[in-house]
């Protein structure tokens, strides 16, 4: 007490500080000293929210001077609000136009001057605020000031506010709501809203809100006005029964208590979740809120991504490929699904594999009924069942097609529902043309003849699972063939070229369906001509959009093409003149046509002309002896040549000249041409003749008269039979056996001369120009009177028709008496007369005896040609005659050889020569062995047989050795000392041989030859000094080879020439030549000789 009294005393002593009007009533400022007790307030003590408080302040100028510049100001305490228009000065309103009262402004309201004793009355009204704390004290005071007086305060009126909170109102309540559907497991928020609808603050607001049943409090989720509250509460919200959630809740304020709960799961659908709460405060007793509820929504759910239906593989599935179909049913709902079943719906392109289905890896029992329906049982929430099934993708299927599979999942748990799931399979399919089915095969033989047709079959089997589209078949034909066509089922396909100038080799086939087979036939014709052994190939490739190029195998043929000649198109034709006359040229046309299909090489026509004629000229071909060489002749080509034939001598009409032709070419069978027969018109003529006697004019009786009949075939034909008869007169006595024909004595025909017989002297085959001289002697009959005329007439009958007469001149007998008997030369007398002596005669006819023809070209006696046979008056009626002529034409000092062949031996010899065609001259050594004669001369040659045996032995071994690869000849392979000695003896014996050996009666072919013994003797002498393995013995043996025909003679001459060239050689030159040196001319001559032997077989 003492202390407070002291403080009041100190305050009294402190000087008063006068505050201006504007500074009074400032917040926190002390009230003014109470000087004027004229402020009256109604009500006086308490007030309630919303009440009107009226204040009236009066003052009087108790002074004597007017107070000027008087201003009045009221305060506005918290909780009171000025009522607009209530400020009155002496009953006059003071508010401005905006409703602001100047009484409440800082400067106060200007009331003007207040005269002394003048009183002013100011009224103002306030309204109590709606929310004002209970017990709040409100102080009202007015202040007045003027220019002359400091600011004076009125009395202070203190009022106490009376109010209370109100929590139970419509805005206070509880709510429960879920974020989404109120499904089990989901969260829900419980919100307790507390609103203080009263005029004062509620203190210690308590909320009792138990956690709803079937829910769980989410720890830390309780919020008061968004502010976490558990930290302030000091415990978990759900563990406190009646926590004070708010220390104060002002009037008109609201607070929200929110906490979150989790709905228990599982939870049947329809479960009611009820949230309850009680609210109380210090001022408000507890009251309950209307409960809030939430109905749980719960069901099984297979609708999320965890329920899947898939196929493996799903992409690039090939037809025929097994596909694993998997249905995983996951109950993502909040309730168990009862009696869940799955129904598979497979496309028609998927074939279900029975017995392969499993559920959660366990195999299922096979069911015949509804095999695609599977009972999965009950599936709890959050559980899954996996159904696996197998299916196979059918074939065929188009590429990139989509095959669907679906599964319908049904369940009955409330509510019953189903879900259809689907998966797609992307098909990868393509056609396929495997080589085992698709091929191009040859039809028929592998050999093709030009001009013939070829056929190949094409099989296009699409073994793939998709159609092949835009199929184009390309045909490859090498080389180009004719008439190429492609057929399918008898229908010819159109072939087109890839470009305008390319051959037509492409056929459009369109689409080849899967597993379909197209069979095509390619036909073509081999052009003619065509080279032999050429390979023909037909290939094909199939181009499809999907596979591109697919090559097929090629079909191959080998062309069997040969040149050929026949007798119809290759022939000999006579030229203009149809008759061949002796010593005249006849033109023979040779037409050679290659009717084959390949070029003929070395076309040669060997002409065999009758011996009576020979070839004089050749135009259009190369002549080589009697052969015409045409060279190469293309198929279907013609070659023409014109031969000039000259008839060497006359022939009778029935002996026409024949020309045979043997057409040969490489690789062609020899074709003998139709024989050309040339009629001859040769006729004999014996009109030219002379019959005369010697003496010619007169003769004495008893004198011998020699008669000469010269007859000559002056025609151009041969007289086959010429019968000469001469009648003998009685005045002549024939001298027996005095008849000669061409100095050949002719025996008489009995007692009569041969020409006086019945047939007379018969001459056969009298060639043109041949002259016959018949000479005989007769004696003039001694009793012939003088003057007797003797004349003879010779009749020559020939060819059965002609009868020519040749008469002699008259010979007169002159008879004179003779009385002497002394005959000179006789040592005795003789009663008789000296007879005539035979004397040599002179030819009566001056003409040449032989008909000399010009030599045929190119055969001549020069340039190494062989001696040519001369036409003689001898007999020449067949081939043997020609051989005889050869012998006659040869030198007289020759020795003959002979080699006889049976058909078997000749065949074997020819085969041996064919097999022994080695490179080099060794081939001709084998030829020497083959044609070595068996007879030399007319006597037995003792060394011949040993030489043949040794030669055979040595050359057989050599024949075998030469079959060794890369065998090199040595000297001892050619000649051994024993062989050398034997050959030397043979050559020596041959040099001394004479004559011609006798023919073998059993030989089918006899090869004759001649040689000069002098040459052999000379060679034998040289062989004595020669070393082994030289060409000398073989050159000697070559001279023993046959030379009867021009072919053989030609070969022998060439061989001798070649072997003689080694005379001066040294060392192993001959051995080397045997193995390495070839002589084409010699080989050709041997070929010709062998060919001539072939023709005789």
């Amino acid at each position: 007490m003492r202390a407070s009294a002291g403080a009041s005393l100190a305050a009294a002593k402190r000087p008063r500080v006068m505050r201006p009007l504007s500074e009074v009533f400032a917040p926190g400022a002390p009230t003014l000293p109470e000087r004027l007790r004229t402020l009256v307030v109604s009500p006086e003590r308490e007030l309630e929210p919303g009440m009107t408080v009226r204040a009236t302040f009066t003052f009087r100028n108790h002074g004597g001077a007017p107070a000027t510049g008087v201003r009045i100001r009221f305060n506005v305490p918290d909780g009171l609000v000025y009522l607009v228009g209530s400020g009155l000065l002496d009953g006059s309103e003071l508010d401005d136009e905006l409703g602001n009262s100047p009484l409440l402004a800082r400067a106060g309201a200007h009331v003007g001057d207040v005269l002394p004793n003048e009183e002013r009355r100011i009224e103002i009204a306030y309204s109590v605020a709606g929310a004002i704390e209970n017990g709040t004290t409100i102080e009202l005071q007015a202040a007045v000031a003027s220019f002359e007086l400091p600011c004076i305060g009125s009395n202070v009126v203190r009022l106490v506010a009376r109010s209370k909170p109100q929590l139970a109102n419509a805005l206070t309540g509880i709510a429960m709501e879920s974020v989404r559907d109120p499904v089990p497991g989901s969260q829900a928020a419980v919100t307790v809203r507390i609103h203080n609808a009263g005029e004062s603050t509620a203190r210690d607001v308590v909320v009792v809100s138990p956690i709803p049943e079937h829910t769980s409090y989410i720890a830390g989720s309780a919020r008061i006005n968004g502010r976490e509250t558990e930290r302030e509460l000091g415990a978990a919200f759900d563990r406190m029964h009646a926590p004070v959630v708010l220390r104060s809740l002002p009037a008109r304020a609201s607070a929200t208590l929110v906490y979150r709960v989790v709905i228990d799961a599982p939870l049947p659908g329809g479960t009611q979740l009820v949230a309850k709460a009680h609210v109380a405060s210090q001022e408000t007793p507890a009251f309950s809120l209307e409960p809030a509820s939430l109905t749980v929504v719960s069901a099984p759910d297979f609708g999320d991504d965890r329920t899947t239906f898939s196929a493996d593989p799903a992409d690039d599935v090939r037809p025929g490929q097994p596909v694993r179909i998997t249905l995983r049913a996951f109950n993502a709902g909040t309730a168990a699904a009862e009696r869940v079943s799955a129904q598979l719906e497979l496309s028609e392109h998927l074939i279900f594999v029975r017995g392969a289905a499993t559920i959660d890896g366990r195999p299922l029992r096979e069911r015949r009924k509804e095999p695609l329906r599977f009972a999965l049982g009950a599936i709890d929430a959050g559980q899954s069942v996996t159904l696996c099934a197998q299916a196979v993708l059918t074939t065929p299927l188009p590429d990139k097609s989509v095959v669907s599979a679906a599964a319908v999942l049904d369940w009955e748990a409330p509510p019953a529902a189903s879900r259809r799931l689907q998966c797609d399979l992307q098909v990868c399919s393509e056609p396929c043309f495997p080589p085992r089915y698709d091929a191009l095969t040859r039809v028929g033989s592998a050999s093709a003849v030009p001009g013939s047709g070829l056929e190949a079959a094409i099989v296009l089997a699409n073994d793939g699972s998709a159609d092949a589209r835009d199929c184009v078949l390309h045909i490859r034909i090498e080389p180009a063939l004719d008439d190429v066509a492609v057929f399918e089922s008898g229908r010819r396909l159109v072939l087109e070229g890839r470009s305008a100038d390319s051959p037509a080799d492409t056929a459009e086939l369109g689409t080849i369906e899967a597993y379909a087979t197209r069979r095509l036939t390619v036909k073509a014709r081999v052009p003619s001509p065509f080279a032999n052994a050429s390979e023909l190939r037909i290939g094909a490739s199939l181009h499809t959009r999907e596979l591109g190029e697919t090559h097929l195998t090629d079909a191959r043929w080998r062309v069997d093409s040969h040149p050929a000649f026949d007798r119809e198109t290759s022939r000999l034709e006579l030229g203009a003149q149809s008759v061949l006359r002796p010593n005249q040229l006849a033109e023979v046309d040779v037409v050679v046509t290659n009717v084959g299909t390949d070029t003929a090489h070395n076309v040669t026509l060997r002409c065999y002309v009758s011996p009576e004629a020979r070839m004089e000229s050749v135009d259009g071909a190369t002549r080589e002896k009697s052969s015409l060489l045409f060279g190469e002749l293309a198929p279907a080509a013609h070659a023409r040549a014109r031969l000039g034939l000259r008839l060497l001598r006359g022939l009778a009409k029935d002996w026409p000249v024949t020309v045979d032709g043997l057409l040969t070419a490489d690789g062609v069978l020899p074709v003998p041409l139709e024989r050309l027969t040339i009629a001859t018109s040769a006729e004999p003529d014996f009109t030219t003749g002379n019959l005369h006697s010697e003496p010619a004019d007169a003769v004495d009786p008893g004198e011998t008269v020699e008669w000469f009949l010269h007859v000559r075939n002056g025609g151009d034909g041969t007289a086959r039979v010429a019968q000469i008869t001469i009648a003998t007169p009685e005045s002549l006595i024939y001298v027996p056996n005095s008849t000669t024909v061409n100095d050949v004595p002719i025996r008489d025909s009995g007692a009569v001369p041969p020409f006086a017989g019945t047939r007379g002297i018969v001459l056969n085959d009298v060639d043109p120009g041949v002259e016959a001289t018949i000479r005989w002697c007769s004696v003039v009959h001694n009793a012939s009177p003088a003057g007797t005329s003797i004349a003879l007439v010779a009749h020559i009958r020939y060819d059965g028709e002609r009868d020519d007469e040749i008469a002699s001149a008259e010979l007169r007998v002159r008879a004179t008496p003779i009385f002497a008997n002394a005959i000179p030369g006789l040592p005795f007398g003789l009663d008789g007369m000296l007879g005539p002596a035979l004397a040599s005669h002179q030819r009566a006819l001056p003409e040449e005896r032989y008909l000399q023809l010009p030599p045929a070209t190119p055969v001549a006696d020069v340039n190494g040609a062989q001696p040519r046979a001369q036409l003689s008056a001898g007999r020449d009626d067949d081939v043997d005659d020609l051989q005889i002529k050869v012998f006659e034409a040869a030198r007289t000092d020759v020795t003959g050889t002979i080699a006889a062949f049976t058909p078997e031996r000749l065949n074997r010899t020819l085969r041996l020569l064919r097999e022994a065609r080695f490179s080099g001259l060794i081939t001709h050594v084998f030829a020497l062995r083959a044609f070595l004669p068996e007879g030399v001369g007319d006597a037995h040659c003792r060394a011949l047989e040993p030489a043949r045996e040794l030669l055979r032995e040595e050359l057989d071994r050599l024949f075998i050795k030469l079959r060794l690869p890369l065998y090199v000849l040595t000297a001892r392979d050619i000649e051994t000392p024993s062989l050398h000695a034997t050959l030397e003896r043979l050559v020596r014996e041959a040099g001394t041989a004479r004559g011609v050996p006798a023919e073998s009666p059993t030989a089918a072919l006899t090869l004759r030859g001649t040689f000069d013994p002098m040459e052999l003797r000379d060679l034998a002498e040289r062989m004595l000094q020669a070393q082994l393995a030289t060409a000398l013995p073989w050159a000697a043996l070559a001279r023993l080879l046959p030379s009867e025909t021009p072919y053989w003679a030609d070969y022998r001459a060439h061989l001798i020439e070649v072997l003689d060239d080694f005379e001066d050689s040294e060392g192993n030159e001959f051995i080397d030549a045997l193995q390495h040196r070839s002589d084409s001319r010699l080989d050709a001559a041997l070929d010709t000789m062998i060919a001539s032997l072939h023709s005789t077989v």
């Binding site: 040993p946 075998i960 051994t976 024993s978 000695a981």
Partner: protein, 117 residues
């Protein structure tokens, strides 16, 4: 003739002596197949010459060698052996060999023998 025969005989004796010496030096005595073994070591041409050399011998070992040579890898050697057997008149083993070994090689050898007959 006598001289030639003497020369051939001398060559054969020398060849046989050389082979016998080589065999005696390389192989122990009593090896019955020594001749055939030596024959197998020769070249083709030497085997041909050897066949021609022993062709004139009419002893069992030579005939056995010729029979063995019919199956020589070199066809020319086989032909030489066949020719030697034919020349010696021993056609039985040749026919037996031909019957036991039909084929192209036998046909060719038979054809060549026919040519050389």
């Amino acid at each position: 003739m006598a001289l030639a025969a003497t020369l051939v005989l001398a060559v054969l004796i020398a060849a046989i002596a050389a082979l016998a010496y080589a065999r005696a030096r390389r192989r122990p005595q009593g090896d019955a197949d020594g001749l055939i073994a030596e024959f197998g070591n020769l070249s083709d041409a030497e085997r041909c010459d050897f066949i021609f050399a022993v062709a004139a011998l009419d002893d069992p070992s030579s005939l056995r060698l010729l029979e063995r040579a019919l199956d020589d890898p070199c066809e020319a050697v086989a032909l030489a052996a066949a020719h030697a057997l034919t020349t010696a008149g021993s056609t039985v083993p040749l026919e037996r060999f031909f019957a036991a070994n039909p084929g192209g090689r036998t046909d060719r050898i038979a054809a060549s023998l026919e040519l050389l007959a």
